[in-house]
């Protein structure tokens, strides 16, 4: 009798300890890839074209020159997105720095031309654009770019791409034009 009860208790404790948390059960459906490849999930795919870093970024908004400084570094990722079955607005982009901290794309540069978060990806129409981030200079090694429709996706596709470390020093000024960088 006692061994049976103890056995049942141990079994239940093991089951409870290994139950995945709710956040994991309803978390994103991840696809992982490298910068050199086109990384595809079930609903959309991403191909990284260029990764640039700069001390300041400049663009024109309504004919007015905007010049944005930073205490860290601006990272601009030029990428091509494709949707497969239906329209996918890719609103969420995060750079995970070398410390593991998560840097969401900068809202300061949200009005820059050609920014991907203002575009909508239609099936059959590959869409290129920019993702602009602001992060401290010591976070730039072994970065990972994470893309999804919204932040903290639940049971939706999320693509994460590991980026190659750029060895060159950041350029002083990066001009963002209508046709890209």
């Amino acid at each position: 009798m006692i061994p049976a009860v103890l056995g049942a208790a141990a079994l239940l404790a093991a089951l409870q300890a290994t139950t995945p948390p709710y956040a994991t059960l309803t978390g994103p459906i991840s696809t992982v890839g490298r910068q050199s490849d086109t990384v595809s999930s079930d609903t959309f795919s991403v191909k990284i074209n260029r990764v640039l870093k700069a001390k300041s970024i400049a663009y024109k908004q309504f004919g007015r020159a905007v010049d944005l400084q930073s205490s860290g570094v601006w990272v601009a990722v030029s990428a091509e997105l494709q949707a497969f079955q239906k329209t996918v607005p890719v609103r969420a982009a995060t750079l995970i720095g070398s410390s593991g901290r998560m840097y969401r794309q900068s809202r300061r540069a949200g009005d820059a031309p050609n920014v991907l978060s203002t575009k909508t990806v239609q099936p059959g129409l590959p869409t290129t654009g920019l993702l602009v981030f602001e992060l401290p200079e010591d976070e730039l090694r072994n970065m990972k770019l994470v893309l999804s429709e919204q932040y903290d996706p639940q049971l939706k596709d999320e693509i994460s791409v590991s980026l190659e470390t750029i060895e060159t020093a950041p350029q002083a000024r990066l001009e963002i034009r209508k046709d890209g960088v």
């Binding site: 205490s71 860290g72 901290r101 900068s106 949200g110 602001e134």
Partner: protein
């Protein structure tokens, strides 16, 4: 007949004992609750008072106040709403969490202004509305409260800094999150004269 009487008596005795125990338990619970409240009240009284330019670690945010003033215009150059006046508090704000965030709305609260809403934050670097603050990138920001023009303002603005703490697994969803910790610091900022907030 005698047996029944004895049974009745023992039953009343039992009921009496139950009532006594319940009463004692209730009294005990009340006194524990009272003691806890008194203890909390005493704990709440010892909120540290900080000086200008002293960094305050509020868990999710690190803030050091620079000063406060009455502004002639909003920090981004916009006009103040008609019939209102603007109180501006400038500070350095740093995101100590591991994620970009704009959830600084309930970080500071004036205690001697009548029912103020959450302040609007502006980024001094851009002279624009502040959105996300990136981790490990402190920025000079200003918080603005618009109060009705007929409100009598105190000479010294008292602010309370509300802390937050991180739980790797919360009690409801077993998910990581930030939770309120209560007041971690208080500061008194002199609110002198009209100063236009035109900083580079």
């Amino acid at each position: 007949m005698g047996g029944l009487k004895r049974a009745m008596r023992s039953k009343t005795g039992k009921a009496w004992l139950t009532k006594l125990l319940a009463g004692a338990g209730g009294l005990l619970a009340a006194s524990i609750s009272l003691g806890y409240t008194l203890y909390e009240r005493r704990q709440a009284d010892v909120v540290p008072q900080v000086e200008v330019a002293t960094p305050v670690d509020a868990g999710r945010w690190k803030v050091s106040f620079a000063g406060s003033a009455l502004a002639k215009e909003m920090p981004n150059g916009a006009k103040i709403s008609p019939g209102k006046k603007a109180i501006v508090v400038s500070m350095m704000l740093e995101n100590l969490s591991a994620q970009s965030s704009n959830l600084y709305g309930s970080l500071i609260k004036p205690t001697n202004l009548p029912d103020t809403p959450k302040p609007q934050y502006y980024l001094s670097r851009d002279r624009a509305i502040l959105w996300d603050l990136q981790p490990r990138m402190p920025e000079a920001v200003t918080a603005v409260w618009e109060v009705p023009a007929n409100v009598a303002l105190p000479d010294v603005l008292r602010l309370r800094v509300e802390g937050e703490f991180f739980k790797p697994r919360d009690n409801l969803y077993n998910a990581p999150g930030w939770f309120p910790l209560g007041t971690v610091a208080e500061i008194a900022l002199p609110l002198d004269g009209e100063t236009s907030e035109t900083k580079p």
